[in-house]
């Protein structure tokens, strides 16, 4: 029943998106606006189909309907409701349902937002592109990765449940949907960009229309990545949070190009420059989400995250090829219309600093992409097998990150067009004092080491510049000084500074010790005493959990655990973390007595990471800042003639000091 219904919804979705897209193209080419309005009905059907697929699969999971292939794969009688709900995205087929569901949600939001302008060819083409993307994902669900396939149920089948790592922590319910909201969210600005190229309306109007969509997608992606790092820290038990794993890199790549876009788009809005560049950034952001999905979901790279091979690899690669070909082709075709009307007057200007930002974000994206795909390319080229891991990425990303922090300090104080040395000296003075002050405080508190100190200094400098902007804006506009793109952006910058300080301290001053302890014995790590008190266990039908009671500094008891999931026979360590403002104490039960022997020794690993909570706080602040940036500081119409007003803008636009 669920199988048939789910498959019917997939077929409905595929046909509705194909007919909608084809009908839209016909109407647009024939210039028949009344025909174009039918695209709304097609899109409505697509939304119904996507919601249908999602609901049917969730219902099947909760009914334990093992005749559905996907439920047999990830469902089980014993999975608790929250993880049963999240089981939808615990394997490849289901995550495609989630992807399609979210994409349909964006299509719905789009239709509602622009419901009055639907006959405008720009919006018509955007919908055609969106429906084409929908068609691709529905095709995956109908064809190579059909989750609704009906299968026979073996006798006494109770199911394995999702991968133990994915039913171990509540963050699993939030990290993947957040990430997908980000990934999929970039479809809308991408569709706009393609529509603008097709219609030839490459002016700035469409940019303003998509700005909030892009900021929203970016914010979701940011939160998704930080939540993923947090999940990795809380669940995986290796003591870290970011491993430069191919799947992590795949999520970082669109984030980097998206961040570059959010900055350089301001140059286009204000000065009408960088048109080709911005379109390319949008197109590559979307293409990189597809490439990332290909890399992580096709089994071509080894990764702890990668789902097992699902047969969608060639489809994803083909889709990436189509996206690239269409983007590059259209940009080549419209190249002449995209000629920039302006030029940058001075290296000491806002626009020059945004361009520098783009160079540096581009460089980091290039390094991450190169490091991720190079082992594949080398193997395809001459069978060389090599690993590119953390030391490579760390040593490449570190100098780039320092330049980013420096730009975050300098760029916000720069005016558009041109700045004088005196102006810079005036505006940068207090941020620089804050930077030097942070270094002084760090030295007094006993911090040493070149890299962390440079991070504290540049971080303080950047934070000073951001605070300066917010302070000036609130003095002038009251609470409105916190909202709007620039002010919200400064809050995001503060989040980045917190994150950078958290990364630098938690890496540089980390202590990692392992010891074998008998009951009653203690170990000393970074000034704390860890005493192994006793050993305990607990058994349910789904899992056997054992844990050690470890007393920290003779006070609270923490319980690093190991859980054996009986259905999958897999042992998952569950770290126990004592978080703190200045440091986290992270306990992992590396080795536990095998036969429940309470007198046997355990092997306990303790990792002390200073200030790692700053990293999570920084991520949260980045999300909050994006929200402020989305809230309109002031109403503004999409048709505002921003590019034409260049010469008067300098006079009309006061530069506050």
């Amino acid at each position: 029943m669920n199988s048939a219904l789910g498959f019917a919804f997939s077929v409905l979705g595929l046909s509705a998106s194909v007919f909608g897209a084809l009908g839209g193209v016909y109407a647009l080419v024939r210039r028949t606006p009344h025909l174009l309005t039918t695209i709304r009905q097609w899109a409505g059907l697509v939304i119904i189909a996507a919601v249908g697929c999602f609901v049917v699969m969730e219902v099947a999971l909760f009914q334990r309907d093992y005749t559905v292939k996907f439920v047999q794969l990830v469902g089980s009688d014993a999975t608790p409701p929250l993880f049963n709900f999240a089981a939808l995205w615990s394997a490849l087929e289901g995550s495609i349902i989630l992807w399609t569901f979210i994409l349909a949600g964006y299509v719905g939001a789009y239709l509602w937002k622009f419901r009055k302008q639907i006959t405008d060819p720009l919006h018509g083409w955007t919908l055609v592109v969106l429906l084409t993307i929908c068609a691709f994902f529905f095709a995956l669900m109908v064809g190579p990765s059909n989750p609704f396939t009906e299968v026979a149920v073996p006798a006494n089948f109770v199911g394995q449940g999702p991968n133990p790592l994915l039913q171990n922590h509540v963050l699993v319910a939030f990290h993947p949907p957040m990430l997908y909201l980000g990934f999929v969210g970039f479809s809308v600005p991408f569709a706009f960009a393609i529509a603008a190229l097709i219609t030839g309306r490459v002016g700035e109007g469409w940019l303003v229309e998509t700005r909030r969509w892009t900021v929203a997608a970016w914010a979701f992606l940011t939160l998704g990545i930080v939540l993923g790092a947090w999940w990795s820290y809380e669940v995986l038990g290796w003591g870290g949070y970011w491993a430069w794993d191919p799947v992590e890199n795949a999520s970082l790549l669109p984030w980097l190009t998206g961040t570059a876009y959010l900055h350089s788009v301001m140059v286009q809005e204000r000065r009408g420059m960088l048109r080709v560049w911005n379109l390319s950034l949008l197109c590559s952001t979307f293409a990189l989400t597809i490439l990332g999905t290909f890399l992580s979901r096709s089994g071509v790279v080894d990764s702890v995250h990668a789902f097992s091979e699902g047969g969608v690899g060639p489809w994803m690669l083909a889709f990436f090829a189509v996206v690239s070909a269409v983007s590059v082709g259209l940009i080549a075709w419209r190249g002449d219309r995209l000629r920039s009307p302006g030029a940058i007057d001075s290296p000491l200007s806002r626009e020059a600093s945004f361009l520098a930002n783009n160079v540096i974000f581009g460089a980091l994206a290039f390094v991450v992409l190169l490091g991720t795909v190079f082992p594949l390319l080398a193997e395809a080229y001459d069978d060389t097998r090599l690993t590119i891991g953390r030391p490579y990425f760390d040593s490449m990303a570190r100098p780039i990150a320092f330049v980013m922090l420096f730009l975050m300090a300098a760029a916000p104080v720069l005016p558009w067009r041109k700045a004088s040395g005196e102006l810079l000296s005036e505006r940068l003075f207090w941020p620089a004092v804050i930077g030097v002050g942070s270094m002084f405080v760090a030295i007094v508190l006993g911090a040493r080491g070149f890299y962390p100190m440079l991070t504290f200094g540049l971080g303080g400098f950047a934070a000073g510049a951001a605070l300066r902007q917010v302070a000036l804006a609130t003095r002038r506009q009251g609470w409105r000084g916190f909202v709007g793109r620039t002010n919200g952006g400064m809050i995001v910058h503060l989040g980045v500074v917190l994150l950078a300080v958290g990364v630098a301290s938690s890496e540089a001053y980390k202590t990692d010790r392992t010891a074998t302890l008998l009951p009653g014995q203690s170990m000393e790590v970074a000034g704390h005493t860890f005493t192994y008190d006793s050993f305990a266990g607990d058994e349910t039908s789904a899992r056997i959990k054992i844990w050690a009671n470890v007393r920290i500094d003779g006070d609270e008891v923490y319980t690093p655990a190991q859980t054996r999931y009986t259905q999958r026979g897999m042992i998952v360590p569950t770290p126990s973390v004592k978080p703190g403002f200045t440091e986290d104490l992270f306990l992992v039960l590396d080795d536990a007595p095998r036969n429940g022997d309470v007198t046997a020794p355990i092997r306990l690993r303790v990792v002390v990471r200073p200030m790692i909570t700053w990293l999570w706080a920084g991520g949260a602040l980045m999300g909050f800042g994006s929200l402020l940036a989305i809230f309109p500081g002031r109403r503004r119409r999409g048709t505002e003639p921003v590019s034409a007003a260049v010469t008067t803008a300098a006079e009309r636009d006061p530069v506050p000091a």
Partner: protein, 176 residues
Amino acid sequence: MSDATTTAKSSKRSLSAQLGLWIALAVAAVSMLSIATFDDRGPETTEERIQRLSDSFACPECDGQSVSESNAAVAATIRALIRDRVAEGMSDTEIRDELIRGYSSDVLLNPPSEGISALVWILPVVFVVFGVGGWIAAVRRTGGGTRTATDDDRQLVADALDGGHDTPDGGRDDAS
């Protein structure tokens, strides 16, 4: 306020006084960075050396995790080997060579800088050189100031003003 007032305000503090303040800040920054660098912990301890070596090798069985991070048996074995060899007084290169002899060069998390994998180190530098070159070319291009509005631009302004309800003012929300 306009550029003129800004200049007026900043000239309250004389140029040489400003320069002095900046030099003082720079001296403070450099001296604190050097304290941080040279007053660092003493020479590397054996434990730190073992940690550094374990960080630099990939666990052969576990998808790019380092030997120090992984719980796999082979990672534990390599950690034990590193500990043994360090105790025997072997150099980093000797330990590295021994592991490469066993598990081939994909045991290195840092790709080697010879052969085809040298590209991994060279290409980013090429990218940055081109990027910085492009940036310099872009900011040195002149002529922005002499440009005049085109008819299209005027039309755009006219249309916008005709149909406009709120006055465009250049967008205060992205002023600095």
